[in-house]
């Protein structure tokens, strides 16, 4: 697996290598050009000296040349020259050339031509060639026609080449040393500087479904990593929340289904083992258990969807008065059967911007609970009010065996005042579900006491939104 450290090391080394190579080459080329220019200047100076010693005597050219004055041109010397007339007829050459000739190439006196060559003895050299006009000797008639001469001066370039090779070696050696030092230092520096990233990776590796409560450190992290760590922590918090919800859901499902499953199993086992003991209403009992399980399942799934924010509320202008009256109407018979005083108080033409389906579901739930749990002979009041700021729905009912300490638990899943399951088919999920629905339509559902033994569940719209706006719970 490629690591950032390896990749950075590789790329840094490649870059440093290229930079050292380019730098070294640049230095070498500059130094070589300077050395060649210096060499050429020396050659030109020698050529200049020879041109000043060259005179025209009649049709002939003469050089007043002596070995003492021009060291290096003697036999076995390192310098060479050859002089030609303009018609390329050789005139003179240095003793160092012996029988050999220099190639005839030239520039002008001001801009002599310089080039590398291989001398007759096979050794490398460098030459300058120029065309010049020799001065006339004193005895030369003034009217004699002027004639040019061509001079080529060359030198062995051993010293120059040696210097250049030395320069090459020094540059290559320094480059390699620099590269080796970089290769040694860069991984260490990277390792040290990437330690926080390594720590972050190790922390991440340790985290699994069982340790979602752990958090990444945010203190002492480099500026680039601090936001990553913060985002990861937020992600972990969301994951933990989501896992906790799933765990609670599974646990609730397992717990709440055990009793109905036990009922089904014992009914079936008894019918198989003791066919004569099978009750006449056994099938109705089985159906009732199945329907109860279905209700728990439907409510749990709706609750899970709501908590995951998958419930979408479709807002529209809703006439509250008929909706509330309609819901109250459904429970009048049940309230009468339980000898409850049932009052529905709502102003005419009350309206609100909300989701009618979810609102009806919440209200049905609240009224159903009130009528179910109010003690026989108690009172149930349903009140509603609406204005521009939103609407409020209140369901108040008589209660017994309920006090202030129970209020926070009312909206918990499966919480029941006496810890027993309801024999009436209630799942213990109604108020949890009503609160999730309330949140999804921008309402708050709260519980309080409206007087002694008078429980009030109040639904208040928090932020009325514009019509037909589709919102999603965060």
């Amino acid at each position: 697996m490629k690591t950032i450290r390896q990749q950075l090391t590789r790329k840094l080394l490649l870059t440093v290598g290229l930079l050292i190579g380019a730098g070294g080459l640049g230095v070498y080329l500059c130094a070589r050009a300077a050395l060649l220019a210096q060499f050429d200047t020396a050659l030109r100076a020698k050529a200049q000296a020879i041109t000043t010693l060259t005179e025209r005597k009649g049709r002939r050219l003469e050089i007043e040349f002596s070995d003492e004055h021009m060291r290096g041109f003697e036999a076995g010397g390192r310098d060479f020259f050859e002089l030609w007339q303009a018609d390329e007829k050789p005139v003179e050459r240095s003793r160092s050339l012996r029988d050999a000739h220099l190639p005839l190439r030239h520039g002008t006196l001001e801009a002599p031509l310089a080039w590398n060559l291989t001398l007759s003895n096979g050794q490398p050299g460098r030459a300058v060639g120029l065309k010049f006009r020799p001065q006339n000797s004193d005895d030369q008639p003034q009217d004699a026609a002027p004639a040019d001469a061509i001079l080529v001066v060359a030198s062995l370039r051993h010293d120059l080449d040696r210097t250049l090779v030395t320069l090459q070696l020094v540059l290559a050696g320094s480059g390699l040393l620099l590269l080796a030092a970089t290769a040694l230092v860069v991984p260490r520096v990277l390792r040290r500087e990437l330690t926080p990233l390594q720590r972050l990776a190790e922390e991440a590796e340790r985290i699994d479904a069982a340790s979602l409560s752990e958090r990444f450190p945010t203190e002492g992290l480099p500026g680039e990593l601090a936001p990553i760590s913060a985002r990861l922590n937020e992600l972990l918090a969301r994951l933990e929340d989501s896992f906790e919800r799933e765990r609670r859901f599974s646990s609730d499902v397992a717990h709440e289904f055990r009793t109905p499953v036990a009922e089904l199993r014992s009914l079936a086992e008894l019918a198989i083992k003791l066919p004569d003991a099978r009750a006449a209403n056994a099938d109705e009992e089985v159906l009732a258990v199945a329907l109860h399980m279905e209700a728990i399942l439907t409510h749990l799934l709706a609750l899970a969807r709501g908590e995951r924010g998958e419930l979408s509320a479709q807002r529209e202008h809703v006439a509250l008065t008929p909706l509330v009256q309609d819901v109250c109407e459904q429970f009048k018979a049940k309230a009468a059967a339980r000898q409850l005083a049932f009052n529905c108080c709502i102003p005419p033409a009350a309206a609100a911007d909300t989701d009618p389906v979810l609102l009806r579901s919440i209200l049905t739930n609240l009224v159903d609970n009130a009528v179910e749990y109010a003690p026989r002979g108690g009172t149930v009041d349903v009140e509603a009010s609406a204005n521009r700021g939103g609407f409020t729905l209140r369901v108040v009912n008589t209660v017994e065996n309920l006090d202030e300490r129970d209020l926070p638990h009312l909206f918990e899943r499966f919480w029941r005042e006496d810890a027993a399951r309801s024999p009436d088919g209630h799942t213990g999920l109604g108020l949890s579900l009503a609160r999730v629905f309330a949140q999804s339509i921008g309402c708050e559902l709260s519980a309080s006491f409206a007087g002694p033994a008078r429980l009030a569940l109040t639904l208040t719209q928090i932020k009325p939104k514009t019509s037909n706006q589709k919102t999603q719970q965060p």
Partner: protein, 223 residues
């Protein structure tokens, strides 16, 4: 054997009671904790099958109050709570056994039988007296190696007498432990059951095992 079943689910209560009755137990039932506690306090049960989540008074509170009063009746907790801390809490409150819903009726029966055996200080599922052998797990009776077929009620009576062998068992005790909850109990029901039992035991070996102690009751003995 007399058992109390305290369970708020009517379906479960009825099926468990029917199952236990058909297996020779005398069963009382209750749907809430308060009534269950009153029944447990006022009767002498061999075992109690107790749900934890109950209206009025939950099962653990019931158990705690029962133990505080010094009642040592063996209790089988029946519950939907299956985590280790739940089980530990149940046992710490004085329960003798723990059964998680849903359960097999056979397992419930085996556990209730085991609790009843413990009620009479025996861990052995085999009761023996002279040539009579009773396998309380398989509910099979043999005498002199010959199997004896008994009805559930006859078996329950024989097992009860066998568990209290060496002691005189009164007619009232038999009525309470074998026929509890039966409103239309005939006055000679115990006598006819004893008679039928003697007859079936006598078929394998004529030596009498069930003896009448006049004015006191009955005793299972080899003399």
């Amino acid at each position: 054997m007399r058992v109390l079943v305290v369970e708020d689910s009517a379906r479960l209560r009825q099926t468990v009671a029917t199952w236990l009755r058909r297996n020779g137990f005398a069963v009382d039932t209750s749907a809430d904790g308060e009534e269950g506690l009153w029944l447990a306090e006022t009767n002498d049960y061999d075992a109690i099958v107790l749900d934890i989540m109950l209206p009025k008074l939950d099962g653990l509170a019931l158990l705690q109050r029962l133990r505080k009063q010094g009642k040592q009746t063996h209790v089988l907790l029946l519950t939907a709570k299956d985590t280790v801390p739940d089980r530990v809490r149940g046992l710490e409150h004085g329960a003798d056994d723990y059964l998680v819903k849903p359960f097999a009726l056979e397992e419930l029966l085996a556990r209730v039988q085991a609790l009843c055996r413990r009620a009479y200080g025996s861990k052995d599922s085999c009761l023996a007296l002279a040539d009579l052998e009773i396998d309380t797990t398989a509910r099979k009776v043999t005498r002199a190696g010959k199997p004896i077929t008994l009805q559930a009620r006859e078996y329950a009576l024989l097992e009860y007498l066998a568990r209290r062998r060496g002691h005189i068992v009164t007619r009232a005790e038999i009525e309470e432990h074998i026929y509890a909850g039966e409103s239309e109990l005939l006055s000679n029901a115990v006598d006819s059951a004893i008679c039928s039992l003697r007859q079936k035991l006598g078929e394998a070996n004529p030596a009498p095992l069930i003896h009448t102690r006049r004015g006191l009751g009955y005793e299972l003995a080899a003399e």
